[in-house]
Symmetry: C2
Subunit: 418 residues, 2 copies
């Protein structure tokens, strides 16, 4: 890598993995920041993540209209499109990497920013390694985003705060809906988070600051179906409605997903080998229905929790932009092979600053909820968890409305560069 900071060339930005409500705030930050450097000759956006690079589908980000530019931060879901393509190890098959190098050379791309989750950090790391080994100077920075909050090394991930705010807010509303009748009901709410219970745990904010779930089940601890039924039965018999927040990834002590208990369809795996989950709540509802006489309902927050831009956290949106800007500053200052982490400073009030985390450390490690933040009963989270998540949902991010509906940026007019 060159010691010189002044590396002249184009920036390439790509988005990958599952969308978040604030992912385009990072995109906005990157474009805005890149435009401040004279040595940045062009700012490109790859369509559909790394697959767009392989196809040479690059958009000129400087053609975005000022109106769309200002709408980007409040526009949910990857404005450039996303992908779930698993790039092979370059040591075994370097076809993709050679193609990427070809594209980078063609467009003189010297700065590459990949905005994604764990899988994307892995891709980012491989590309960085290949470029270095090929002697092509290109600074590669990972820009974290995931509602799952499971990227290693950073206090939290942009995207998580907004999804957490959606979960807590909607839980407060659902609580109201669940208690209106004069008989007890069971509501089972399923929340995303395959292996990490960060988002499910955020439902505790509703109970802490108002009224929310009674039972919170994270995937970090084994789920005991019999204990669940006994707990629900006990409360229902006392005349209390029960609201259970359940991670999509809850599994029993043998590691079997609860969603697989009564599943009629066989589990589907994506190209990363991750099982496509969903259905823990409806499976539990069926099990309870066979055992207890109680009116019940299963609700899935499904993809709503990752595209809820109209309920985004202002803190989260600001941090998403900050991380995007910092990525560009970092690359332009001569650094590479790292992701932009968020570091919480000690003290009573919430203060955050960015820090650099080597890509090789972060790639493919999943950060889970510390076991000491999960209640001893296995169905709650501790005050430490609340203190962790509360500042991340702070503030209501503004939304642009037209015709009393949100307006989002639409980049479909951008043409691929030759």
């Amino acid at each position: 890598m060159s010691d010189s900071c002044k590396l002249s060339g184009a920036c390439l930005i790509a988005q990958s993995g599952g969308p978040t409500p604030v992912i385009n705030a990072s995109l906005y930050g990157m474009i805005k920041q890149a435009n401040e450097y004279p040595e940045v000759t062009a700012v490109y956006g790859a369509m559909h993540g790394v697959t767009g690079i392989l196809r040479g589908e690059l958009l000129d980000m400087r053609q975005i209209t000022p109106k769309d530019m200002e709408l980007l931060p409040s526009t949910p879901s990857s404005a450039l499109g996303s992908c779930r393509y698993k790039i092979p190890e370059p040591e075994y098959d370097d076809t993709d990497f050679k193609r990427i190098l070809e594209i980078f050379k063609k467009h003189n791309i010297r700065y590459f920013f990949y905005n994604g989750g764990n899988d994307s950090m892995d891709t980012c790391n491989k590309i960085s390694r290949f470029m270095r080994n090929s002697g092509y100077e290109c600074r590669v920075i990972g820009v974290p985003k995931t509602i799952d909050n499971d990227i290693y090394g950073t206090d939290h991930c942009p995207g998580y705060g907004s999804a957490a705010k959606y979960v807590a807010t909607t839980m407060m509303e659902l609580y109201r809906d669940t208690i209106v009748y004069d008989y007890p009901q069971l509501l089972i709410v399923e929340i995303m988070g395959r292996n990490a219970g960060w988002l499910t745990g955020a439902s505790a904010l509703a109970s802490y600051y108002g009224k929310g779930p009674d039972l919170i089940y994270l995937p970090e601890v084994p789920f005991d179906v019999e204990d669940f039924i006994r707990t629900v039965e006990r409360r229902i018999k006392l005349g209390h409605s029960v609201i259970a927040a359940v991670s999509e990834g809850v599994r029993d002590k043998d590691g079997v997903f609860i969603s697989e208990y009564g599943a009629t369809d066989s589990p589907i795996r994506d190209t990363f080998g991750n099982i496509q989950l969903g259905g823990a709540s409806s499976t539990l509802k069926q099990i309870v229905g066979r055992r207890l006489k109680v009116k019940q309902r299963a609700v899935e927050f499904s993809t709503m929790q990752r595209c809820c831009a109209t309920r985004a956290s202002l803190t989260d949106r600001n941090e998403a932009e900050m991380v995007g800007r910092e990525a560009v500053k970092t690359a332009l200052s001569g650094k590479s092979d790292c992701l932009i982490g968020l570091k919480r400073l000690p003290g009573e009030t919430y203060h955050i600053e960015t820090e650099l985390i080597p890509l090789r450390e972060a790639a493919n490690f999943e950060k889970k909820v510390p076991l000491e933040w999960i209640g001893a009963d296995g169905r709650s989270v501790t005050k430490d968890f609340i203190d962790y998540v509360a500042p991340l949902i702070a503030g209501e991010a503004p939304v642009a409305y037209e015709n009393s509906l949100p307006v989002f940026a639409d980049l479909s007019y951008l043409k691929c560069v030759e």
Copy 2:
């Protein structure tokens, strides 16, 4: 009924049926308005609708704190509790009615306001008839509320506009989430509305003013599974993702609910004989999965669409309060046996005024979407539908936040009057 307007006595307010995001704005309007009349000696709220009256569980609404009072309009789901109790015909069994009369006499209740949907207007009508026949002077007014928008005689119902806004807004967000990958997907979104497609039709606002569903299926016209599969297949083959908005109540030409097609559990009926639906989307997903190779997802808006106070329509909330106030004014002016309807005035701009609709006309009639507002293809709505619904979602109703989460009124400190 007395010709005199000056009937001295207590007001009783009850809420019934499924909650809405603005039902407590009507409650707020009723309490505020009732407090303006010296002849109103007390303002009571029945817990859990008519069942609370039967149990004599009346709360003193004048004990509500000023803070909770101001939070009421933005608090979702019946703050007094609700019920789905089907009162018998007084001609066959007048036990309940005698008990209600006893309670009314005990507390000198001379004004009764029942805030509910079609079933509640029926209850209201029966109580009114019984009081009249018993020679007990009590003015009875129905206050409409339902997200289903299916009450006869009124242009629309308070509650519908906010649920419609939730549906359209969330559809816009989900559209973004669905198109991020470079392969086509099918998203099936299930929306409430057993027999009337008002709420499902509102999803068209997203497509009209931005991007939203491609296919919209209302329960008013038969659903053809084969046609659905062909339509989806055609679009997917062209590389387009498909978003289908489907009413929970879609049924085939023989009247069989689509949700019953692949159901493993037998349908459950509530005490009004209504089938408890749900699962049209997941049933369709299963059917499509057996026939087409496409990545797909089923999403249910479930109870979120009826408790979404943090995304309520300002117009809807204001009208809910207006209808509540008008109910009290109407009763105090000497009228009875009617519900407060909303009448849209002719002209370019949206103007609404209230009108009185005799209870016996409204009770148990369901207002459906006019067939001429449904596209000839059976999978869309017309511009007339858009023009009808657009003004109802206008404006964003304010929400009180504490700790960056909504604060709702909590009336649990109110004690039942002796």
